[in-house]
């Protein structure tokens, strides 16, 4: 049995919220720089340069990259030999997000009721929390600050086994076409394949956590990621939708076992501000 004080979770999340809002991960900067070199149009070059300049200003001023600092999504992985002390782990997570957004001057973008009152909760909470109990005595946390310009353009479809790889490609391309300029390209695209109607969307979101340099460990899925990226970029939606070669920086797939009758597919669109953090709590 290992005791872990939940205050450490609050502190870690508070700090992470502030950092990911103002600084792109280095792999995204590198991908944007590479994309900028591949553009030839006047407006697409201007768009890429604007994003790179914006990244520098955000870093220097400690001002968020984007005004939509996102809804917080947290994955909590708890070793079964851990005993939390110092309070409720759920409350500690929400407190970490609330303090992270308030203390770092990030936007409160969460409303309490989705349909009727839509009153801002002022703290950007509640965060969405996914919890998993695993072996061992460690606690790991993953945080994503998900913007909704791109979230709104995400989609799920229940394909059938006969649809095969072609069906997956068609659905991804269809979703990206519908997203078009509205979801702030260049995109990072999370694709979930398998599981069930509910779990496939989480797979697609969690796929966005993976560093851009890493592909799916299964060579077949890694090849599909590349094929999808090439097909998406052949759509020439381009940076900010101004046409061009950089429509997406990466396609990331996560797959899971599914039912004999089905092949659920989810596409979680993400803008270039794909903000995430991962850490372990000792």
């Amino acid at each position: 049995m290992k005791e872990i004080n939940v205050e450490k979770v609050t502190e870690a999340l508070e700090k992470a919220c502030g950092e990911i809002a103002v600084d792109y991960a280095p792999d995204i900067i590198a991908a944007l720089q590479k994309g900028a070199q591949q553009e030839t149009g006047e407006r697409s070059i201007a768009a890429m340069n604007m994003l790179l300049q914006n990244a520098e200003i955000a870093h220097q001023d400690r001002t968020p990259i984007c005004q939509d600092t996102g809804m917080a999504i947290v994955w909590l992985q708890v070793g079964q030999d851990v005993h939390f002390v110092g309070g409720s782990i759920q409350e500690a997570i929400q407190k970490g997000i609330a303090e992270g957004y308030t203390n770092n001057y990030l936007r409160a973008s969460v409303v309490d009721d989705p349909l009727y009152e839509r009153k801002n909760t002022k703290t950007n909470t509640p965060a969405v929390i996914h919890t998993q109990i695993v072996e061992g005595d460690k606690v790991s946390l993953e945080l994503m600050a998900k913007g909704f310009g791109s979230e709104n353009k995400s989609a799920v479809k229940m394909l059938t086994p006969a649809d095969g790889e072609e069906g997956v490609i068609d659905f991804v391309l269809d979703t990206v076409k519908k997203a078009g300029p509205n979801a702030c390209p260049p995109f990072i695209i999370g694709v979930g394949i398998g599981g069930s109607f509910d779990s496939v969307t989480e797979l697609s979101k969690h796929a966005l956590m993976r560093p851009l340099a890493e592909s799916n460990p299964d060579a077949r899925y890694a090849a599909l990621e590349q094929k999808l990226l090439d097909s998406v970029n052949a759509l020439h939606i381009g940076p900010m939708g101004f046409h061009g070669n950089t429509t997406a920086l990466k396609v990331q797939i996560e797959e899971a076992p599914t039912h004999i009758a089905g092949m659920p597919v989810a596409v979680n669109m993400c803008c270039h501000a794909c903000r995430h953090w991962k850490g372990e709590i000792e």
């Binding site: 103002v22 407006r43 201007a46 768009a47 604007m50 994003l51 300049q53 914006n54 200003i57 955000a58 001023d61 400690r62 001002t63 968020p64 990259i65 984007c66 005004q67 939509d68 600092t69 001057y105 990030l106 936007r107 409160a108 973008s109 839509r118 801002n120 002022k122 310009g149 709104n152 078009g180 300029p181 509205n182 979801a183 702030c184 900010m240 939708g241 101004f242 046409h243 803008c271 270039h272 501000a273």
Partner: protein, 175 residues
Amino acid sequence: MKRLNLPLDEETRKSLHAGEPVLLNGEIYTARDAAHKKLHELIQKGQPLPFDLQDCYIYYVGPTPAKPGQVIGSAGPTTSGRMDPYVLELAQHGMQGMIGKGRRNDAVKEAIKKYHMVYFVAGGGAGALLSHSIIKREPVAFEELLAEAVTKITVQDFPCFVGIDTEGNDIYDLD
């Protein structure tokens, strides 16, 4: 690059072409989803509006809070399409232009042509950069909406592109 002082006379608006980069100067109101809904409700009830829509420009933005010493936090455009249902009504009350990102529907394009409005497109995801072109900000209405409140901002050489011109040409449909 063309430098524009808002509001624009009709001749100037008609001289703009989709796709051309411009620098905006002058006063603009900020409003997005919730504020548009409230404006719509006030118009429907025949109640007074918190600001004069005649010749106004609306920027679809919900900025991050300003840190001490800042005029405004990160302030890039939000997706304009969500405000499409409100455009015709605001145009009928004199709105002259909109600033945002992304495509507009056919009804908005028709309203733009009919009322000789202009839709400007700003850099999606460039909120830190764009905040440097906003030199003043004052509250106007609906402060309870926090980031979604209506405010009046003064912009200086605010960079954007002509998104849809008075003839209905669309930046996203250009070659």
